[in-house]
């Protein structure tokens, strides 16, 4: 049903905009807040992201994944681009970076984003320090160098943890895709 929102937007149906904002506004805004340097930046980024979503909606293919992950991909690419262009300052609210991420039960994500469900399962298999590296890098916008400094860890270890963690997630996503294919 949610994929219809993107399909309608792709066909130029402006009436789907509000539904899209209802469905994905919180996801985009939460990401923008985490990966922007100031509240003003987060608002500008959110506007750019939704413009990107209107333009890219026709690329969404439900067979390839959930709309939430598609939206998150669009949002992250825009936010990373903005971070890259910005000066080297810590992301907004550095104290928030110290907070742990509240990971939901994987089953609770199954309906809205099966890939996210698999990601939670993959992360559960990681060692705590590997998981922390991914949290700081992917959810708090710290660079690998910043992670190394914060955790007192060699940069090479940060890269290695990041690589292994994403490979683990990738394996789970692949398993999920194969499972979907097997069931269909």
């Amino acid at each position: 049903m949610t994929s219809n929102v993107l399909q309608r937007i792709a066909s130029g149906d402006a009436s789907a905009v509000r539904e899209c904002l209802d469905e994905y506004g919180a996801l985009v805004w939460s990401l923008a807040r985490r990966l922007s340097r100031t509240p003003s930046d987060a608002e500008d980024a959110t506007q750019e992201i939704f413009l990107d979503i209107w333009r890219s909606a026709s690329r969404f293919d439900a067979a390839q994944g959930s709309p939430k992950v598609f939206i998150a991909m669009i949002a992250r690419r825009r936010l990373i681009d903005r971070l890259r262009k910005a000066t080297a300052e810590p992301p907004m609210d550095p104290e928030e970076v110290l907070e742990g991420i509240a990971w939901p039960e994987s089953a609770s994500l199954a309906e809205t984003a099966s890939e996210a469900e698999q990601a939670v399962r993959a992360l559960a298999e990681l060692k705590p320090d590997q998981r922390e590296v991914l949290e700081l890098g992917l959810l708090h916008g710290l660079s690998q160098s910043e992670i190394a400094a914060r955790l007192g860890m060699p940069l090479g270890s940060v890269k290695s943890f990041m690589r292994r963690g994403l490979i683990k997630v990738r394996e789970y996503l692949n398993i999920d895709a194969e499972g979907v294919a097997a069931r269909s």
Binding site: S108, A116, E171
Partner: protein
């Protein structure tokens, strides 16, 4: 633009560069290095990696997502109204622009997401091997160790590919690009801006590969902490008020012969003009065009 020493690239470095590109962005020299390794492979792998990262992101924000503030939501609705009533909006049935996912997803190079990453890595590397070493490698099946299998293949291909020679500079790569078919070359002319006095240069742009290089002489030195040069590409298929950002660069000396790569994050359909502006450090999303130092019309 930057000369580097002898290359001995393990596959981990290639993958690490891709991960860095997806998680925090690359510095210009890192982007150049990734491009040198194999732009096609990087493009093919990037979207798959982004999907994994996005899946973690969705999971990590699910428990504490924050609703859009109402003023922002209203602005978004107004923005959408303008967008959907604009004549430059993509008409239904036409492949959409891919501003967020499009840097590596041009029509002729878009990765097939139905093919697993490990397979694509293997196939792409095999293609590279066949191009460069006349030794095609078959695709592998993906399994729990698929990525490592692909990495092993990548290692073999990279060893075959890389020779212990100095990395090409941006100027070298520009020269090579000139030999590619369908590449356009555009002369850049100085404007009346005081900073543009004596400036001349050109752009080499490959529409298929979506990459190119600016070549300049006479640009004055800039203070990177205060302002930077920013490249813009005007796409015939887009609103001329919003040219595509082609990246930032600095000039160390007016005497410097500057060659800089153009990095676009959205696909350029028909490049009709190129421009260079002076902007605040870090660049801008939309230029006020107060300081346009050079401009060139294609065709």
């Amino acid at each position: 633009m930057s000369a580097k020493g002898p290359r001995t690239q393990p596959p981990e470095e290639f993958i690490d560069l891709l991960i860095k590109q997806v998680t925090e962005g690359l510095l210009p020299d890192e982007a150049l290095k990734l491009d040198e390794l194999d732009a096609a492979t990087a493009i093919a792998c990037r979207e798959e990696l982004e999907r994994s990262v996005a899946a973690v992101t969705v999971a990590g924000t699910a428990a504490d997502a924050v609703a859009l503030p109402m003023p922002l939501r209203l602005r978004l609705e107004q923005q959408a109204t303008v967008y959907f009533s604009s004549p430059v909006q993509q008409p239904p049935g036409r492949p959409a622009e891919q501003p967020a996912l499009g840097a590596g997803a041009m029509v002729d190079r878009r990765p097939n997401l139905s093919v697993p990453l490990a397979d694509r890595l293997t196939r792409s590397v095999a293609d590279t091997g066949s191009r460069r070493a006349a030794a095609a490698r078959p695709a592998r099946n993906t399994g729990p160790l698929g990525w490592w299998a692909a990495a092993a293949c990548l290692l073999l291909a990279l060893f075959a590919w890389f020779r212990p020679v100095a990395a090409p500079t941006a100027a070298d790569l520009r020269t090579r690009l000139l030999d590619e078919p369908n590449v356009i070359k555009v002369r850049l002319d100085a404007t009346q801006d005081p900073a543009a006095a004596g400036v001349h240069g050109d752009v080499v742009w490959d529409p298929r590969a979506q990459r190119g290089y600016l070549h300049f002489e006479g640009l004055p030195r800039n203070d990177p902490g205060a302002e930077q040069y920013q490249i813009w590409i005007f796409d015939a298929d887009r609103d001329a008020r919003y040219p595509i950002d082609g990246g930032l660069f600095n000039v160390a000396s007016r005497d410097e012969d500057v060659v800089v790569p153009i990095h676009v994050l959205v696909p350029v359909h028909v490049a009709k003009a190129f421009a260079v502006t002076i902007e605040k450090a870090g660049g801008v999303v939309v230029s006020t065009r107060d300081h346009v130092v050079a401009i060139g019309q294609a065709g």
